[in-house]
Symmetry: C2
Subunit: 330 residues, 2 copies
């Protein structure tokens, strides 16, 4: 039985450090309007969609950075986005910097910071929340980098796992999951979602166009290749649709790659952005396509072998292998 | 510091059911000679390299199938291959059907069958043995398939994990790991090797050119795409070189895909076979390239989060997610 939904990736062009939420939210509302015109049921925005990619800027005291975070969603500044979601009857994925006043692992109420995404229902209600698990970069100011990447400073590691929920999208019940940016490079993220029968993985990203640590081994064009490779493999190996959405372009002199993409459960690209600016790409996704992989080659119940996977869940870093000695393997 | 080895993929064309090991071994010896002429240090052969892909043929009683297995390696029939390995000073990966007389999980000595691969040193000694973990297909005769795929009948699930060892290859110490065929589609296999700092993943395959279970959703060209996508992603996400080697062509009316491939730690194709016959492809691999990913974006110790991976090692099959109820996620 066909189960058709129309999916839109709403890529955002650059947001300069000095720009306010009002400008950004107005741009996002225009993209929602355009998505409605194109017949979309669900719209995916980037990671940290309301601000510049601020982890490139160092602050000594995190409290000075509160202006980049949301304490409530919606807020007066972001309310027009929620109004548009309701007006057009859209489901929406949105990434933002979250301040949460909640107990830490020791039960002490604290002001905590996460790199967060939510799924918003057409009613404006939050359906599902995810907090980024794989924070790239570093915590302290790096004297050897030309550009900082301080996600480990600005955010705690996400503490909500990789949740999936079944919720209506344009009249079709869909198993919805989320990732954020660097999560997409980690097959563990995709598999956690796949084990919950995810059918649509929504993920936003802010990816610098040049790898600052390339050491001469990574050409700039490989940044797009690696992003797409990871999304395509994640979709194929978990029999799911995927939508990767960039914030792109030149922010205060620093370039972010674009190449937002919609991928099907065969791992094939269905739509690809071609600018580094605000751009909408749309694809019709027949969720029945998820059944093939899930019930045959990637029928997990039939083929997965937990006894062989124990390093994955018990060993964080890699360890050097034993050195072979002649006569060892008889 | 550059650490250069020359890697060869020795693709085999078809082997008919009636053909003997003498014919196949002679073809393999010619490929080793050619690899020596091309300056190779290590040569990778396919899965089940000595016989036709026999899991397509049903037998009622497995003992009737013993002729497709090796009880010893080398045997008189396969000795010429080992002689050539020693003559040319090559390291070699080889897949074969193994009969082992060893205790089962209950401690009872039995005749056991595995889909196995080994790394052979230039001395002819076995360096490392692996037994295929991800057996595709089915155990009983399928009345709905045009071609059987009886790997779950012919083999037990591998019981050696995913071993990695550090051994000399052409004067360079290399962290060597192995996969077999369907293993390459499972990111768990690659990650188990990556957690042991693998630098060269050798894998052979016999992959039917058409997915018998495609249900109209998978075109034949996607078979190659999926194989390559899985190998490229596995290499990139674990910062390793990979060599995937096919048995290819028409065996008794049934086509196997070719497209043997050598991939670098950036996930890029370095060499690709272009026939469905005996064919050698060669690439110079600088193992220093493995350092970039391993020490930056895929520095596992810095970035992996075990607490978020627990489903992977505790839940075999997938489970349906909870259905969202309005008001649930406040």
């Amino acid at each position: 039985m066909n189960r058709l939904i129309t999916v839109a990736a709403a890529q955002l062009g650059p947001i300069q450090r000095a720009e306010g939420r009002d400008v950004v939210v107005a741009r996002m509302v225009r993209l929602l309007e355009r998505a409605h015109q194109r017949g979309a049921n669900v719209v995916v925005f980037p990671e940290l969609a309301f601000t510049t990619f601020f982890p490139r800027w160092y602050v000594e005291n995190l409290d000075e950075a509160d202006g980049w975070y949301e304490e409530t969603l919606p807020s007066p500044a972001t309310q027009p986005l929620f109004d548009a979601i309701r007006r057009y009857g859209l489901t929406c994925y949105l990434g933002y910097a979250e301040i949460a006043h909640e107990p830490d692992e020791n039960g002490v109420l604290r002001k905590r910071r996460f790199n967060t995404s939510v799924v918003i229902a057409p009613s404006g209600e939050i359906v599902l929340k995810y907090r980024k698990v794989h924070l790239p970069g570093h915590k302290e100011f790096s004297t050897i980098r030309k550009v900082q990447h301080l996600e480990k400073r600005y955010f705690e590691v996400g503490n909500l796992g990789f949740p999936v929920t079944r919720a209506p999208v344009g009249g079709v019940d869909v198993n919805l999951g989320m990732l954020i940016c660097n999560d997409r490079r980690w097959p563990e993220s995709w598999r956690e979602l796949g084990l919950q029968q995810v059918e649509l993985v929504m993920l936003g990203y802010n990816t610098p166009a040049v790898n600052q640590e390339n050491r001469g081994f990574e050409a700039p064009y490989q940044r797009q290749f690696h992003s797409q490779l990871s999304i395509q493999a994640g979709c194929y190996q978990n029999a799911t649709f995927g939508v990767g959405v960039a914030k792109a372009g030149n922010e205060d002199g620093f370039e972010l790659m674009g190449h937002s993409v919609i991928v099907n459960p065969q791992g094939e690209v269905m739509a690809l952005a071609s600018t580094w600016d605000d751009e909408l790409i749309v694809a019709d996704c027949n969720l029945a396509m998820c059944e093939l992989g899930r019930s045959t080659i990637f029928n997990f119940a039939q083929h997965r072998r937990l006894e062989a996977y124990q390093r994955i869940a018990t060993q964080t870093g890699s360890s050097a292998p034993a050195v072979w000695q002649p006569g060892q393997c008889a």
